[in-house]
Subunit: 324 residues, 2 copies
């Protein structure tokens, strides 16, 4: 715990119900204590959301609370981990009780859903910014990393892609939506659902996994680079939601599905000889999983377009000091 | 790891040498993996330093790098823990390579000293802010908490108190210092030394411990509240540095020693019957420890002044939404 632990964090903590066995000491001392069960590794991920950068300035406090935890949980999902606890660093321009109550509602509703205990944090005065460090557990050696994809693996994604990107376009005035369309897509942008169950379900089959925060091309690119392999994506296989289909032509929909971020779906690879087993799990657990391509020795990311033509993308150097 | 892991963190990581056995997977995936040895608990603390709030805006990047880690290490020290790893969230107005290099030098010099491995983090665009989450380990059940002080315990502090506060006064133009004085005191403010060795040395003797970030009165107040006990401090026993004595009269020096923050010394309590053992350790390890008072059943924090008069401080409600 920080120099300035005080009332605001105390207020937040009072709204939480989760008490985890792994938490030997929670909030209120110089530090928290975690007791990681033997046979497990602790999975740790840090994220920061800044107002005006990672979410529009007029986003509701409830949505910010949800999203700041969802983004962290999504990293655990991508490792196939079970959520345990979270630390929260809130930077706030002023001590606004109404804002804080709304933020806490969004944050703890999701925390309760996944049984995540808040174990520490601090609140400081400054421009609105939310930092989270999340802790999960995974059986030793079983975390799904990014570097395990081999040539010939099937590439899969969860859910649908491009919805959050479409909502962002609409907010920027670049896409016209009907009321119901906007409601559905905005919910995907503001209240992403981390794929915790899916991540754990595929853990023993997947050779690599990442969560799609920067867009399919960029994030699959991480897997390909770290696994030292290439891939072909069948563009007409990309899962696009009914809503996205209604408001965009097919080409624009595919473009968003490939390039837009913020969906927080999982992209993962499974060896071809495990695909039948994955299919069994998919059906049995009713998981929203789509097969979109295959990894291959030929380097680069190749897009098989619906007209049969092949486009090759450069997956190097697309990520720098980003403002979104 | 976050949505936006990219070059800046990569650059930072390249400057680090420490590889810990406990780190099963470091930077570069969706999350890091820690392997906590059996028989140990993981100690976790989160801190945020904002420019203009927690350090003056013209503080050097090197000092900011040092201090952001030192403040976190100090929390581990207060628990009696051994440092293991750290996650870093940097919010920067722009990607300034020179600033980043200086920051990294200050950060990793201290990280190397205490064998702390950087295992994750993110860099986002925004007002200058540094978030750290630090991980340490401590034998199960042996962390020093705040709530264990009993009546009759001896109250101790490490080092000297008030130096950082004096430097801050000088920076604000409220205290006149000679060049050498300013150099010494400014170093105490900008480059605090976490009391990691002291924290581990006293772990088996101390009943409660806290690091002094908000000032002795405020932080000892936490111990007293959580231990449900009172205390008397002998004001003329407070350790005041030679430099502070030179530039302030005795009363002002004591005032700073009691009220000023940012020293990051430890304040801890030891049962009276363990004081001889502590004294042996203090001499053998040459630890800078001073006995400054005693806990007692009578509630509140009482100050025995050098003239023999007794003042009582209210230790409730002194900490709110702070701007310093």
């Amino acid at each position: 715990m920080p120099a300035g632990e005080f009332d605001l964090i105390d207020q937040l903590v009072r709204t939480q119900f989760i008490q985890r066995d792994e938490v030997a000491l929670g909030i209120g001392d110089d530090a928290a204590l975690l007791d990681v069960p033997s046979g497990y590794e602790l999975v740790i991920s840090t994220d920061t959301l800044n107002s005006g950068v990672h979410f529009p300035e007029d986003t509701s406090a409830d949505a910010i609370g949800h999203k700041s935890l969802a983004v962290s949980l999504s990293d655990l999902a991508a490792m196939g981990a079970e959520p345990v606890a979270v630390s929260l660093s809130l930077s706030l321009p002023e001590a606004d009780e109404v804002w804080l109550k709304d933020f806490a509602r969004g944050f703890f509703l999701l925390a309760d859903q996944y049984k995540v205990q808040l174990i520490g944090g601090d609140t400081t005065r400054g421009p609105l910014s939310i930092g989270t460090t999340i802790y999960g557990k995974v059986p030793k050696g079983q975390a799904i990393r990014r570097n395990g994809a081999g040539p010939g693996d099937v590439i899969c994604v969860t859910g649908t892609l491009g919805d959050a990107g479409a909502a962002l376009l609409a907010l920027q005035g670049e896409l016209k939506l009907t009321g119901p369309q906007e409601k559905i897509l905005l919910k995907k942008l503001e209240y992403p659902q981390p794929r915790i169950f899916e991540g754990q379900a595929i853990r023993k089959l997947a050779t690599a996994c990442i969560d799609i925060s920067d867009g399919l091309v960029a994030d699959l690119g991480h897997i390909l680079k770290q696994s030292n392999t290439g891939a072909t994506i069948y563009v007409d296989q990309l899962p696009v939601s009914e809503t996205l289909r209604q408001c965009l032509d097919r080409a624009s929909g595919w473009h968003l599905a490939m390039q837009a971020g913020d969906d927080y779906e999982l992209c993962f690879t499974v060896p071809e000889d495990k695909q039948a087993e994955l299919e069994d799990i998919r059906i049995e657990m009713d998981l929203p999983i789509t097969y979109i391509g295959i990894t291959e020795p030929r380097k680069g990311l190749h897009l098989m377009m619906p007209d049969g033509s092949l486009e090759t993308l450069d997956i190097e150097g697309y990520e720098h000091f980003r403002s979104s």
